[in-house]
Symmetry: C2
Subunit: 374 residues, 2 copies
């Protein structure tokens, strides 16, 4: 659906705010995209389509992800921005997470999550974190093949879930990790050595638990290893491994030890929330669900029902996710422009939401970013 | 096998140092047990049996857990102390983790992991952590029912693992959590309010990911909830829930928010390593594998091949695990005696191993504890 009007590409972006603070931060991110000035001849302009999904939608319509939302994304959108989804507080028949379904239906096979220290006068973050987490996004326990049986002798319930790890998914996710390690290294060359967090060779850390799951995590580990071993292109990238438990421990003890981290779906989910704690707040950590044909930006935080509707949610994660969306659609310069504006707002520390110890509203932070973006 | 000789019980303890630093810290813990003075009439004396297991043993004998070790534990021992096991750095045919097998064969259904701030002059630990993690110890992905298939159309490998959650295991593990919450509360009554980390009602936090695993984690969550709802005994215990990703985030942001945390096997594994990072080192965090008939103490740390054989491993986790072993065998006074000696050594900070920023050897720390125990 990418069209050329005059010199600027017109990108159609699906907006799925979904639940809770998703409804506040996604409109914020949209405003930032709309404020982007022309940077070079290929600067895009935007066309937005609001799309339904989420737990609140489910409660009224018996589905959390209407067919129409998927169809419009597939047929009319160049990319999308997703907000957050609420989790039912008890078991609800027929409900199934729309974000997990979207990742699958759009084949968004890697969830790219950069976690970077907040450079700020205020001290709410470890100063030496610059990690890119690549989370496999289509399988592991997220295939949701579950069943319940009954133990004949006791009459008690027994439930089972399948965990799937395929060579196919592990390989393309591993490839993404090595590619991004090279890309980060290239990008760093423009930064003076003393200002770089990461000064060494690029490195990919493979997370697994093959001491227990020798077949599934064994396949994951071996497949990712082979991606590097079979391709001289990755000779300059170091490779190491961490067991998932020890990974979480080291993440907190030595965050500066990690560059790119690649993990199966569930471990990646846990590790990225953990890493967010290192940089002061989940409210600043973005992600992109990346496939070969489609990208969907998504803040890592949840729908935060406790603060929803109060104009105090941190829009930074959503704004950065809009940047990641642009980056993965090939608009590097525009993405960098957004990242730099966000970094500067955080550095100044004048407009910070309560999660970062400030008193600014969502809209004030959005406005502060827009001022620097324009 | 508990016998009475004179007034003192004689306890037979199986010692399984297994691999790496396990061979240094388990003998250290043994020395502390041997040094325990008579405290009251039911003070035990000890008889130790050295038992084989581990990856190094596997390399010579083609099994990581000889039948004999299991038999002697079942027939001759009152309890056991396990060291640590090395993980093969690549796939090794026929190898299977002996610790996972022992937990299963001895039906040690709960892994009890207290994570407590190190009170010390030196500042290597958050000051407000006092969490008891109860990890389900027999099922989840640890049932190790894995298989590998081939995708017909592509010829690529696909691997599957089963995750089992049963009402039976969830219930007894949940019950353990509420019991221990009451026990901790009772114990705290002896501590002046201003010196308590945790000042409120006892609380159990249930960890799950039922927004994705609605059947397995749904059963886990519901079963643990019902343990409290069906028993007025637990009326004084608060109950709340955390999704596992958000649990790890909050653990780092607000460790003082948690009292007792109960989790399925794999989440519990990850969370307890994470929590160890909050208290300065994995080298101070003990655990007990607890069943109705048998207890096995086990430091949470691994075999640390990088420092093995150098007399610099931290023996604190193993010593505390010996304390936990006594506690869960009913010898509360003796356990407390060990805990207090360890706390005092840490508080003084004179003898600390390198993981805590000191220069003491394993044996020096053991000796310092023994001096205070005698
Ligand atoms: C809402 C939930 C299904 C989701 C996940 O587990 O993937 C969320 O935690 C995330 O990280 O995007
Ligand atoms: C060695 C490994 C199998 C074990 C586990 O995962 O249970 C260890 O990490 C632990 O926490 O005791």
């Amino acid at each position: 659906a990418t069209t050329v009007s005059g010199q600027a590409k017109k990108l159609t972006i699906g907006l799925i705010p979904a639940d809770g603070i998703g409804k506040e931060v996604i409109p914020g991110a949209r405003q930032v995209l709309e404020a982007l000035p022309n940077i070079g001849v290929d600067s895009p302009s935007f066309n937005f389509i609001n799309l339904d999904a989420g737990f609140e939608y489910f409660q009224k319509n018996e589905t959390a992800l209407p067919e129409k939302t998927l169809e419009i994304m597939k047929n009319e959108c160049d990319g999308a921005l997703f907000g957050a989804v609420s989790s039912p507080s008890h078991k609800v028949a027929g409900y199934s997470s729309p974000i997990v379904a979207m990742r699958k239906h759009l084949d968004l096979y890697a969830n790219v999550r950069p976690v970077v220290s907040v450079a700020s006068e205020k001290d709410f973050s470890q100063k030496n974190v610059d990690i890119l987490i690549i989370r496999e996004n289509t399988e592991c326990l997220y295939v949701k093949q579950e069943r319940q049986t009954t133990d004949e002798s006791t009459g008690l319930k027994v439930a089972w879930a399948e965990r799937k790890i395929s060579e196919y998914a592990s390989r393309r996710c591993g490839k993404m990790a090595f590619e991004m390690a090279l890309g980060r290294d290239k990008f760093r060359q423009n930064i003076p050595l003393e200002k770089r967090f990461w000064k060494g060779k690029p490195k990919v850390t493979i997370v697994h638990k093959s001491n227990v799951l020798s077949i599934t995590d064994g396949l994951w580990r071996e497949t990712v290893r082979v991606v590097k071993e079979n391709d001289h292109k990755y000779d300059s990238v170091d490779m190491e491994e961490q067991l998932v438990d020890s990974m979480v421990y080291r993440l907190f003890r030595e965050p500066h030890y990690f560059d790119v981290v690649v993990a199966p779906n569930m471990y990646g989910d846990i590790i990225s929330d953990g890493a967010a704690a290192l940089v002061g707040s989940l409210g600043v950590v973005p992600s992109a669900n990346v496939g070969d044909k489609f990208v969907m930006g998504e803040p890592v935080h949840g729908s935060a029902p406790d603060i929803a509707g109060q104009n105090k949610a941190n829009p930074i994660a959503a704004i950065r996710s809009a940047g990641l969306l642009l980056e993965h659609m090939g608009f590097h310069q525009q993405a960098l422009h957004i990242y730099n504006a966000v970094d500067e707002v955080l550095r100044r520390g004048e407009y910070l939401t309560p999660d970062l110890g400030g008193r600014a509203t969502t809209q004030q932070v959005v406005d502060a970013v827009i001022k620097l973006v324009q």
